[in-house]
């Protein structure tokens, strides 16, 4: 069931909800359209699913459209995605043509009538061709890190992106210099979603039993897909350093790797590395397991995110929201979520991760304080209501180019 704005009040406070209403009152009559490339799965769809109804509740007529494309199109946009992350890419003229043709096809079927259009990520970026007939303000919302992209792909996209009125990036270090305004809006988590809502011990315990995760020892957990960039091997090494002096158990939980050949290989390597060690548990979770993830996080003593590379790394906020001490690599958007020794611990090596985990296990009072500060940090900065507020502010900023806007 869709949560209403009111249901966020116990979490963010009456005043914050009122403020959203006062702001929205100043923006009445505007219509908004979000366009992305997937209706289910992935962080963008997860957020839009919640954000669009809340905008409507605030009196902003908001819609969400999804572009359609064939396999060829999505293969090209997958290549775009990797190339924008800086990986080598080879794209043919045909690839670029397939991309543009799909966008042109979508222009025929999508209804783009709205005052403000938020176009998410590269897949639908070429819809900007509909301008100036459609839409008043066009905003390109980039959810990925384009700080060191493949020059050819970025050059191709940049020409389109600079036709937009504004862009949004998740963090300044993910952005590029562009001839258009670049706003900064961090992503968010929904505290009422199945993955983040409060769970009672009566709910958590049976789930952990069902997953065969005993809780007789402190539990150190990393939840992420089996991917080298998430460094599961490094987590095992760190765990082994910790366990020399402090009894504990490691849980590596991630999505099933059955349809991902590389993931399956990493999973096998992880199993080999952990073989014969009863204190290392490896769990393949079914694709849609938000309650299980929630329960695992809440049952953990320390949560680790030892990524080698990361986008914004919103899983860190999910863990912090459970009030847990988090040990995470200082990469991507993670340092924006964790102030070292304040709302979590940052690390840069296996040894550093091990030391930080030990600190948390051996000093429960310190760990508790990190967890509490971490939860507050998320409450202030990374919840859906803040995200919603910034989208509304952006609408005001589009109409007023000045630095101080009186609505």
């Amino acid at each position: 069931m869709q949560a209403t704005l009111e249901s966020y009040e116990p979490i963010v406070g009456r005043q914050a909800i009122d403020e959203l209403r006062f702001l929205a009152q100043r923006l009445q009559g505007r219509s908004v359209l979000h366009v992305n490339s997937t209706a289910v799965g992935g962080g963008v769809a997860e957020i839009l699913n919640r954000l669009v109804p809340l905008m409507n509740e605030l009196g902003i007529a908001a819609r969400w459209e999804v572009i359609r494309g064939g396999d060829a199109f999505f293969q090209v946009t997958k290549k775009f995605h990797n190339a924008l992350h800086g990986q080598p890419a080879s794209l043919s003229l045909q690839d670029y043509r397939a991309y543009l043709e799909t966008n042109t096809q979508n222009l025929k079927t999508l209804s783009l009538d709205a005052d403000v259009l938020f176009i998410h990520d590269p897949q639908p970026a070429a819809l900007i061709k509909a301008r100036p007939q459609k839409g008043r303000w066009w905003v390109w919302r980039c959810h990925i890190d384009v700080s060191s992209p493949h020059a050819g792909v970025w050059g191709f996209l940049k020409k389109m992106i600079e036709l937009y009125d504004a862009t949004i990036f998740s963090a300044p270090q993910f952005a590029q210099r562009l001839a258009t305004r670049q706003f900064l809006v961090a992503p968010s988590i929904d505290p009422l979603s199945e993955k983040n809502r409060e769970l009672s011990e009566e709910t958590i315990q049976p789930i952990m039993r069902k997953l065969n995760v005993p809780l007789d020892l402190p539990l150190v957990t990393q939840i992420s897909r089996f991917d080298r960039l998430k460094d599961p091997m490094g987590v095992i090494e760190a765990f082994r350093l910790v366990r020399k002096a402090t009894p504990c158990r490691l849980l590596l939980a991630g999505g099933s790797a059955s349809d991902d050949p590389e993931g399956a290989q990493v999973l096998q390597e992880v199993r080999d590395r952990a073989q014969g060690d009863d204190d290392i548990l490896i769990l393949e979770l079914p694709p849609n397991s938000p309650t299980e993830i929630n329960a695992i996080q809440r049952a953990s003593t320390v949560i680790v995110q030892k990524s080698i590379r990361e986008g914004f790394g919103l899983t860190v906020s999910e863990a912090l929201w459970k009030g847990k001490p988090v040990v995470a690599s200082a990469v991507g958007g993670i340092p924006l979520q964790i102030a070292h020794k304040y709302s979590g611990l940052l690390c840069r090596s296996v040894e550093g991760a091990a030391f930080a985990v030990k600190q948390c296990l051996n000093n429960p009072a310190f760990a508790k304080r990190l967890g509490e500060n971490g939860r507050e940090q998320v409450r202030q900065n990374f919840l859906l209501t803040r995200h919603l507020k910034e989208y509304l502010l952006l609408m005001a900023a589009l109409e007023h180019p000045e630095d101080v806007i009186l609505l």
Partner: protein
């Protein structure tokens, strides 16, 4: 008869300028030319982001210089720049520039110290959106009720933004108390150092002061 006090609020959106510095000379160069809204962001956003914690030194320049570039001495001098003593962002900016210039004269080799690109200082601008709340007061008791109901963003607007960015001369609360003839209250509130309290503590301090004043006047 004084005008009623209307509580406004102000929310901020961040906009990156695309400018970044990896050395002190670069930091200095951009400090001289960026808009005031950039100086405002880097000296004030801490107050809001970490408002639930004991306030941090409210400027990013100090943090970057001491923790990223690794010059603790200059970092300390930048931390101790007393934001509240400057009447305008221009004056505040000048002090940052002078402090860095002076330090570079003393330690010229620091010019050649730089950080990795991913540790660059990013210059960010604060876009402020100001709008009225429904809360209005014609006397101190109503004012106290309004102060309880508004968000810390409203306090932030009337205390920081009004004084430094909009150059109203003092904080809006003190200006209004003065117009009510409440000189002593106006002065006490103006003397509060908002940079060494969290916003919530600030709200409570002001409420206590108003409470005392109402008690003195026999209104409770």
């Amino acid at each position: 008869m004084a005008e009623p006090f209307r509580f406004y609020t102000r929310l901020t959106l961040k906009e990156t300028t695309g400018l970044r510095a990896i050395s002190l000379p670069q930091l200095l160069k951009f400090l001289r030319t960026v808009p005031g809204s950039v100086i405002y962001h880097h000296t004030h956003h801490y107050l809001q982001q970490h408002q639930y914690l004991t306030p941090e030194p409210p400027n990013d320049f100090a943090y970057w210089v001491s923790d990223i570039l690794g010059d603790k001495e200059l970092g300390e001098r930048l931390v101790s720049i007393d934001t509240i003593s400057f009447p305008s962002l221009r004056a505040l900016r000048e002090r940052f520039i002078e402090t860095i210039e002076e330090h570079l004269r003393k330690r010229p080799r620091l010019r050649f110290r730089w950080v990795e690109p991913e540790q660059a200082f990013h210059f960010i601008r604060a876009v402020s959106v100001i709008f009225p709340t429904p809360y209005e007061a014609v006397n101190l008791a109503e004012f106290a009720r309004g102060l309880v109901a508004v968000t810390i963003d409203s306090l932030y607007y009337h205390i920081f933004e009004a004084r430094l960015r909009l150059e109203h001369g003092s904080n809006d609360f003190s200006l209004w108390f003065k117009s009510l003839g409440e000189e002593a209250l106006a002065q006490t509130v103006a003397r509060l150092d908002p940079y060494t309290h969290t916003m919530e503590e600030l709200r409570q301090s002001i409420l206590r002061m108003i409470g005392r004043r109402l008690k003195e006047a026999g209104i409770s």
